[in-house]
């Protein structure tokens, strides 16, 4: 398995609070991604990174920001959490291929 960890694995937070999720890889892969998984929608891309400090928006980026200051870490921040951001969040990595390898996920509940 690719060395990808996500923290925290579970989080409950209140509406309006900021939340940061962390993805850490030990594979030295260039590309990193954040997805959310919701029933009926599959996996939808939030943001991705193609190198340190190089990031771009995905399909559902509103309300989210990302940062990548080191190759191994990719942070996802919900600036002011809303109930619609209750979801399971997955990080993924890839090198110069189409296959992406996923982390174990973070279950976020916004009350």
């Amino acid at each position: 398995d690719a060395g990808i960890t996500q923290s925290p694995r579970h989080k409950v937070t209140e509406t309006g609070t900021p939340v940061t999720l962390r993805c850490h890889q030990t594979e030295n892969h260039r590309y990193m991604y954040w997805y959310r998984q919701d029933p009926g929608h599959g996996l939808r891309l939030i943001h991705y990174s193609y190198g340190v400090k190089d990031t771009d928006k995905g399909e559902v980026s509103d309300g989210y920001s990302v940062s990548r200051s080191k190759t191994e870490d990719f942070l996802l921040t919900l600036e002011s959490a809303t109930s619609s951001q209750t979801s399971v969040y997955f990080c993924a990595i890839s090198e110069d291929s189409y296959e992406q390898y996923f982390g174990p996920g973070t279950r976020l509940t916004v009350t």
Binding site: L45, Y98, E99, G105
Partner: protein, 111 residues
């Protein structure tokens, strides 16, 4: 605008028989297709892929078929085993290392 669609939310198959999971896409620019398998509380894992220049790719019990004229992709699992019970996502890519996922199909293998 769902570019990749899995129209069957669930599928039930008897152990030992063939499982066929289907996926349709709308964007003719997609050049690579993948299938992922997901168990509960885990991240998706890569299963098998196919380039748009091919119409079939086989790996053990798993075969992916691509019909470009119909914009249709299918995954065949023969013979089906209890451990195949999972949610299956198809995904498509067109450069830029980004994937677009379908909604997923829950496969249940019955003894």
């Amino acid at each position: 605008d769902q570019q990749v669609k899995q129209n069957s939310p669930s599928l039930s198959v008897q152990e030992g028989r063939i499982s066929i999971l289907n996926c349709d896409y709308t964007n003719s620019m997609f050049d690579y297709f993948l299938w992922y398998k997901k168990y509960p509380a885990e991240g998706p894992t890569f299963l098998i892929s196919i380039s748009s220049i091919k119409d079939k790719n086989e790996d053990g019990r798993f075969t992916v078929f691509l019909n470009k004229s119909a914009k249709h992709l299918s995954l065949h699992i023969v013979p089906s085993q209890p451990g195949d019970s999972a949610v299956y996502f198809c995904a498509a890519s067109y450069g830029a290392q980004k994937l677009v996922f379908g909604q997923g199909t829950r496969l249940t293998i019955n003894p």
